[in-house]
């Protein structure tokens, strides 16, 4: 069963075609990582799927339903999308921001019902933020802040969460903290996770399914073992990589890489 599927997806900024006729299927109940070089269109695809960008053409299906035939509110009850480094207004507390996650389930003035309150408490607990509920978001570390946004997405109670580079600007330990949280949400709350990741090794370590994109096209998709190969990385990133199994997790990992000799970064012969 696919949670997300695109058909002939075309996305452009002005006249600049970024994604041309993309067909992509992402499995339900799994952690999916989308990888690719800068400017390959991976964030663009995520935004088009999350209806932040309107595609020029093509279809996006969410659990089999055409996303543009659902109201934006209905979509928000099924799918949450976290952009890269979102900003909270100054002075907003953790609890208040997480409570905004209830927006698509509220009507009228939006007074929080008991049900809303218990969902917010649960989201804070899962992300280990209960003790920080009354702290202002601006006063948190980068890793904590990312956890707050994830908690907000959890309060939205969707089966699917899309994340655009959730580990950007974070130190190594915070990167792991965030990815482990997402992994746990997937395994324990059966939340489908789709994320764009920059770090190949982290992607291979935490993802069940990977999609490699270059120039708006899918180069390869499948398990980390299928995608993290020298051939795929050569084609996707134009690097000459050495892949081994990481001893602690058994996942493929890239230990050494070079630019391919005789080619520039665009892959052209020089």
């Amino acid at each position: 069963m696919n949670s997300i599927a695109t058909e002939n997806l075309v996305v452009a900024y002005e006249d600049n075609l970024v994604v041309d006729n993309l067909d992509m299927q992402l499995p339900q109940g799994k952690v999916t990582a989308i990888i690719g070089p800068n400017g390959c269109g991976k964030s663009t695809v995520l935004k088009a799927v999350g209806r932040i960008l309107k595609p020029k053409n093509g279809m996006v299906y969410l659990n089999g339903d055409d996303i543009y035939h659902l109201s934006t509110r209905e979509v928000a009850q099924k799918m949450a999308i976290l952009p890269q480094s979102p900003q909270a207004p100054a002075g907003l507390t953790v609890g208040e921001l997480v409570a905004y996650g209830r927006f698509p389930h509220q009507r009228g003035f939006g007074k929080l019902k008991n049900e809303d309150k218990s969902i917010i408490a649960w989201a804070l607990k899962v992300t280990k933020l209960t003790e920080l509920e009354t702290t202002a978001v601006d006063n948190l570390s980068g890793g904590q802040r990312q956890r707050v946004w994830i908690a907000m997405a959890l309060a939205q109670q969707t089966d699917l969460i899309l994340l655009d580079e959730p580990t950007t600007y974070l130190d190594l330990s915070y990167q792991l903290e965030v990815l482990e949280l997402l992994y746990r949400l997937n395994r324990e709350q059966s939340c489908t996770i789709v994320m764009v990741l920059h770090d190949l090794n982290l992607a291979a370590r935490f993802a069940d399914y990977m999609v490699a994109i270059r120039g708006g096209d899918i180069i390869c998709h499948g398990s980390p073992e299928e995608v993290m190969t020298a051939t795929v990385l050569r084609e996707t990133f134009h690097i000459d990589a050495e892949i081994v199994r990481e001893p602690r997790t058994g996942r493929p990992t890239c230990i050494s890489y070079d630019l391919i000799k005789g080619r520039n970064i665009m892959g052209e012969q020089v």
């Binding site: 209806r51 979102p86 905004y100 927006f103 939006g110 209960t130």
Partner: protein, 346 residues
């Protein structure tokens, strides 16, 4: 865990108490300002005289001063202050820019241009002017806001807050230039009128203006308060707002239209008063934080206090003459604003 729960409950009670205290204090300030304002002006009325007059025991002269001159002006300053502050608060939230204010959407510039054009063609003493001018000013403000919206709108991305701000600044500059050219063509009496309008002199101080302003406020304020949670979500940025299921473009268009109508109807009767829409939201945010449900009412109250107090001071500070309220607001507002900027620098 239960300890934690108790701590949070205690915190929430503290915040609720704080908000109630702030609302009561603002309301008390407004009442005090109202009372002082009734007693002050060119002709002195003692508090007792005022009270007596208010309850129907005044002489003809006292009645005239209080009911026909003073009260409408006080009521207008309160309504205009609240309206401009509320509009500024919305615009800051929608543009995610704490330096935005209603002037940014060309409201003051557009209304000002219409006022000049009107005075140029029909003269300042024209009988029609007091009744038509507010509507013309409203029209000018509305047209300018729509123009800015159309220029800032892009089909692919919709309305990016930054482009809205830049377009607003550019259009305003253009209109100001045009205004300056037209000012040269005014004769003395026309010039005096336009200068007073531009300085925000609350020129329309009679009950008819209260009646033209009131319906707008009665319609718009409840609508805006009802939309406070949409404003909350929009202040998280477009992408998060989409994710949470807000119809970002549509909501923003409606809320901007609401903010423009509110500010324009205020400016139309008071003349060009700026700074309230900038300062009141700042003060309110520092007092109660960024959640619009509590922020909007507090901001409205603060704006009302600010303008009514400024108007009172403006009437007494250089007696027997008076300075325009708009200038007084700026005299109070500018130092506070500089203080804010200096504090942010650190």
């Amino acid at each position: 865990m239960t300890d934690q729960y108790k701590k949070i409950e205690a915190y929430k009670r503290k915040i609720a108490l704080r908000n109630t205290t702030i609302i009561i204090s603002c309301a008390a300030l407004l009442i005090i300002s109202f009372i002082i304002s009734m007693n002050t002006g060119y002709s002195r009325l003692s508090p007792l005289d005022t009270l007596r007059t208010l309850f129907g025991g005044g002489t003809d002269k006292e009645n005239l001063i209080l009911f026909d001159f003073r009260l409408p002006r006080i009521v207008i300053s309160i309504l205009v202050g609240g309206g401009l502050a509320l509009s500024g608060c919305m615009i800051q939230g929608i543009s995610q820019n704490a330096l935005a204010d209603p002037g940014l959407l060309g409201i003051n510039a557009g209304a000002g241009l219409m006022v000049i054009l009107y005075v140029l063609f029909f003269g300042a003493q024209s009988f029609l002017s007091i009744f038509t001018l507010p509507f013309l000013a409203l029209f000018g403000a509305g047209v300018t806001a729509v123009l800015i919206y159309i220029l800032a709108f892009k089909k692919e991305e919709g309305l990016a807050p930054m482009r809205l701000i830049l377009t607003g600044v550019a259009v305003q500059a253009g209109i100001s230039a045009l205004t300056t050219v037209l000012v040269v063509k005014l004769d003395d009496s026309q010039f005096d009128f336009v200068a007073a309008w531009q300085a925000g002199s609350i020129w329309g101080s009679n009950w008819k203006f209260v009646l033209t302003l009131l319906p707008w406020l009665i319609l718009l304020i409840p609508y805006i308060l009802f939309k406070s949670r949409v404003l909350d979500v929009l202040s998280l940025g477009d992408e998060v707002a989409y994710s949470l299921g807000a119809s970002v473009e549509r909501e923003r268009r409606r809320l901007l239209a609401g903010a423009v109508a509110l500010a324009a109807s205020c400016v139309a009767v008071s003349g060009s008063i700026s700074f309230v829409g900038l300062i009141a939201p700042h003060l309110a945010r520092r007092l109660v934080g960024p959640r619009h449900r509590i922020l909007l009412p507090i901001c409205t109250l603060i704006g009302a206090v600010l303008v009514s107090a400024a108007d009172t001071i403006a009437r007494v500070i250089v007696q027997p003459s008076e300075i325009p309220t708009g200038i007084m607001v700026a005299i109070i507002g500018a130092p506070y604003f500089l203080y804010l900027l200096a504090r942010n620098k650190q």
